[in-house]
């Protein structure tokens, strides 16, 4: 860097003199004298390597197109090397740089360099291309084209480690679909990649990354890989989890996680599972990118797997993760997301984990994460809350229902990101199940209105989650709460919810209704509002041959209504057997013959309530049911496979007998 000749000591002059220097170098790039040009290229390259700020400022000056011209116009090897290296540096870990480099048409120019006779030129070209392929903006490589496949294999076969590494990188970042994986495997890519495992460090790492991409969620590819030389390469990858370089350990672990998630049968050995968990836990402490990736890898590994969650818990995972979160230094959002997701997975099924986690004074940290500027972090924190709130002990201790926690959660109901919305609804669904406190902070914060708003969202997931939260809110709720809720929805609102185009949303709406009419007899009156509009809609939906899960909730609504007064029971009969009706439309019979035991059970409960002997009209209703073939059908089900159904049927039949069997 040229020395400053100015004698002024103010900082503003420092800034402008550096700006001048940059402009000066930039102008020399365009020089027609190759010596001057070469020197300028080297200067730019040396200024930007490692220095993001300089990359940005040179970018703004328009350095990239200038260097691209140097690359395309020159025959001189030194100029090719320096310009390729400079462009590679712009693309290294700097998305704006990748964009600029691609926009300047550099890609084909770099490809040309790979066929040079000068080894240094080839190296420079290969390295820079590899930088581009680390980014999501890299051109989509079409593996399905014959000539592309040929080119790819020529890269993989190269002696030059930068070139073969480039081949592996292209696979790692461009292979996404099953079809692509298949095409690559059929062309023999696995056999080529595993050779790189015995190569240099960068080849090994590129190989591991690309293996993970090719094997992901593809059992055929996995079995092919494991079959190579009778499992030798699977052992190699397992060995590499103990390598001296952290990045190698990480990439091999991630590869094993992919294989485990795709085909767990290759991991019957507890020891391997255990060491995979502990290696990932150790890698969490790495300060660089490896630590970030390790966190996400761990969450992916233990997701839905109780045995691995237990292993992790016993290996002190919770304390380790919490310690990292408490270090106070600014953690990369990817790492935060991974750590919170891992904690969430740990708390998903194991009560010990939840109690352990909550005892570590973590709530403040978690609440702060709810306000993080990155949506993925907010989502992960919500999922963490949701799973931790599964702990009844801690929930009833009021840990989640105080203002400190409740307010930020409620605020997230307005979050611009839909994944955050769905996640916070999940958390609230669990938290509102706190029965220990008579008043609810959630309701005080206007939670009901917000949930009703969200039940009308464009996103079906949000609608479903909002209704689930409302359903839980209405569970065993007192009349005051039910009135408050109903006044915001009204009959017409309910009709829209129950008639939602998505079956999953309909199911939640019916379940909500079920909880609403449950409890004291007055609650049943809701369905009779506006001339029985809601009850009619329920009947209509049930007659439409709904899916089992929806039908179950619908029948339970009828069950609850039928537990009321004489008028209520008659109204249910109306829905079951509307006046002018074709015989074949008897949905009750269909439900009784369903494969879903819960549906059979719910239907029988309705019948029990309809003919419970204490009410005056029971006898007539019994006659009707018998004439419609319902009672005879029940007699056929005396030995139903499901114990619960069997018992309820016995109840009905004994009620039936009390009317005199004719």
């Amino acid at each position: 860097m040229p020395t400053s000749s100015s004698s002024s000591s103010s900082f503003s002059s420092a800034a402008s003199s550096s700006g001048n220097r940059q402009a000066d170098v930039f102008s020399r790039l365009a020089s027609s004298d190759p010596e001057v040009k070469l020197k300028a290229l080297r200067e730019v390259k040396n200024q930007i390597i490692g220095n993001r700020t300089k990359k940005l400022s040179f970018l703004k000056l328009g350095a990239v197109p200038a260097i691209a011209s140097a690359l395309s116009d020159s025959e001189c090897n030194s100029i090719l090397v320096q310009s390729a290296a400079a462009l590679g540096s712009f693309a290294c870990g700097f998305e704006a740089g990748v964009q600029a480099v691609l926009d300047a048409g550099v890609f084909p120019l770099l490809l040309r360099l790979l066929t040079s006779s000068d080894e240094k030129v080839v190296d420079a070209g290969a390295r820079s291309l590899r930088m581009i392929f680390q980014s999501n903006q890299a051109p989509k490589y079409d593996f399905l084209q014959e000539k592309n496949m040929k080119f790819l294999f020529s890269l993989l076969n190269s002696e030059n480690e930068n070139v073969s590494g480039l081949g592996a990188s292209i696979i790692a970042h461009a292979c996404g679909t099953t079809v692509q994986q298949q095409v690559l495997c059929d062309a023999g890519v696995l056999e080529k990649l595993v050779i790189l495992l015995d190569g240099s460090l960068s080849q090994r790492e590129a190989c591991l990354e690309s293996l993970a991409t090719v094997l992901k969620n593809n059992p055929e590819a996995v079995s092919r890989f494991v079959g190579l030389e009778a499992g030798r390469y699977l052992s190699s990858v397992t060995e590499l989890t103990k390598d001296r370089y952290p990045r190698t350990r990480l990439l091999s672990c991630l590869c094993l996680v992919v294989i485990y998630n795709t085909s767990p049968s290759y991991f019957l050995n507890m020891g391997t599972k255990s060491s995979l968990v502990t290696t990932l836990l150790e890698l969490l402490n790495d300060h660089g990118q490896s630590g970030d990736d390790a966190a996400l890898g761990l969450s992916s590994l233990i997701a839905e797997k109780e045995d691995l969650q237990k292993l992790a818990y016993e290996a002190n995972a919770i304390k380790n993760i919490v310690d990292i979160l408490k270090t106070g230094s600014e953690l990369h959002p990817k790492r935060l997301q991974g750590l919170f997701l891992s904690l969430a997975e740990l708390c998903s099924k194991l009560e010990d984990c939840r109690c352990s986690f909550l005892s570590l004074e973590m709530l403040d940290l978690l609440v702060n994460a709810l306000r993080h500027k990155n949506a993925d972090v907010r989502t992960a924190a919500c999922i963490c809350f949701r799973n931790a709130a599964r702990s009844v002990k801690n929930l009833s201790a009021g840990r989640f229902t105080n203002d400190h926690v409740m307010l930020p959660l409620v605020q997230l109901l307005h979050d611009p990101s839909s994944s955050v919305e769905v996640a916070v609804l999940g958390a609230l669904s669990n938290i509102v199940l706190d029965f220990s406190s008579p008043k609810s902070t959630f309701i005080e914060y206007g939670g009901i209105k917000q949930l009703i708003e969200l039940s009308k969202s464009m996103d079906p997931n949000a609608r479903c989650s909002a209704l689930r939260a409302l359903r839980n809110l209405m569970f065993l709720a007192d009349n005051k709460r039910k009135e408050l809720f109903y006044s915001e929805v009204k009959a017409q609102g309910f009709v829209s919810l129950i008639s939602d185009p998505e079956p999953t949303v309909q199911e939640q709406a019916l379940a909500l209704l079920r909880n609403l009419v449950d409890g004291c007899i007055n609650s049943i009156e809701f369905v009779f509002d506006e001339d029985g509009l809601i009850l009619d809609t329920v009947g209509k939906q049930l007659r439409k041959s709904p899916q089992a899960h929806m039908a179950i909730q619908g029948m339970y609504v009828l069950t609850n209504v039928a537990s009321g007064t004489e008028l209520h029971k008659e109204a249910v009969m109306q829905q079951l057997f509307p006046q002018p009706q074709a015989e074949s439309n008897n949905f009750m019979l269909k439900f009784l013959q369903s494969h879903e035991s819960q549906l059979r059970s719910a239907t029988v409960w309705t019948i029990i309530n309809l003919i419970s002997p204490s009410s005056p009209g029971a006898h007539d209703r019994h006659v009707k049911l018998r004439d419609e073939g319902i009672i005879p059908q029940l007699k056929n089900m005396v030995n139903d496979a499901c114990l619960d159904v069997k018992i309820r049927i016995r109840t009905v039949l004994s009620q039936s007998m009390s009317f005199g069997d004719n």
């Binding site: 020395t3 080297r42 040396n46 390597i49 240099s200």
Partner: protein
């Protein structure tokens, strides 16, 4: 792999450890050692590994000629690496950076900690030369942005800039930064990064073997009395005490 087996007397009195240890005379010891077979090849490889990792290019080249031992990496790359190391050791950091970038432009682009330490060393050299204004400008332009990107860097930067505050920096609490040993530390860091990028192990094997020897002797001391190697540089056996 153990060189020998020791059988401890089962019915020894625990109070007196000295008498329960097996005694091995010098003669017995040397006899056992002579029974161990080593390959010349292995020793040559060990020597070559040491020369190559430490960067003694000429010695390595000569040794290759004389012993027909193949060096594990291209000797030309050692020359480049040694040039970088030397540049840092002599305080010519900018030159070192240029050389590293010629060798492999990825190293500094993917090693933010190393890059920061090199820039920091540059700052130290400017301060050492008394170029205060230039140092401040450099700190402002090159190092401050790095500090913004990373908390840990910021602290180290503040420490370094503190050198400018003191009249006599060489007697200040941060004087260690001016010490030659700091240059050596930075040089070593660069050397290791280059070796790693070339997939070469950054430490030679010889020191590990010697450490293993000392550890093994310490372990054995609890069970036996035998001739020690006390001076690693000579490897001479010393008789066990009577």
């Amino acid at each position: 792999m153990s060189l020998f087996r020791i059988f401890i007397n089962q019915d020894d009195d625990d109070d007196d450890m000295a008498t329960s240890k097996k005694v091995i005379t010098r003669e017995e010891w040397e006899k056992k050692l002579n029974a161990v077979k080593l390959r010349k090849q292995d020793m040559n490889t060990l020597v070559m590994n040491f020369l190559v990792t430490e960067g003694y290019v000429d010695a390595a080249a000569k040794f290759q000629t004389e012993s027909a031992t193949k060096p594990e990496i291209d000797l030309a790359t050692i020359t480049d690496r040694m040039a970088v190391k030397k540049a840092v050791q002599n305080g010519h950091v900018e030159d070192a950076i240029e050389k590293v970038n010629d060798l492999n432009p990825e190293i500094l682009d993917t090693n933010p900690e190393l890059f920061f330490h090199l820039q920091q060393q540059r700052l130290i050299e400017l301060i050492r030369q008394g170029k205060t204004e230039e140092a401040l400008e450099f700190a402002q332009e090159e190092l401050a942005p790095r500090g913004e990107e990373n908390q840990a860097f910021l602290q180290e930067l503040e420490k370094t800039v503190a050198l400018l505050v003191f009249e006599d920096a060489s007697n200040s609490p941060v004087k260690d930064l001016l010490d030659i040993s700091h240059r050596l530390k930075t040089a070593s860091e660069v050397n290791a990064a280059i070796l790693t990028s070339q997939s070469h192990e950054k430490d030679p094997k010889l020191p590990s073997l010697l450490k293993m020897l000392i550890w093994a002797q310490n372990q054995l001391d609890e069970k036996a009395v035998y001739p020690h190697i006390n001076d690693l540089s000579t490897g001479q056996l010393q008789d066990p005490p009577e």
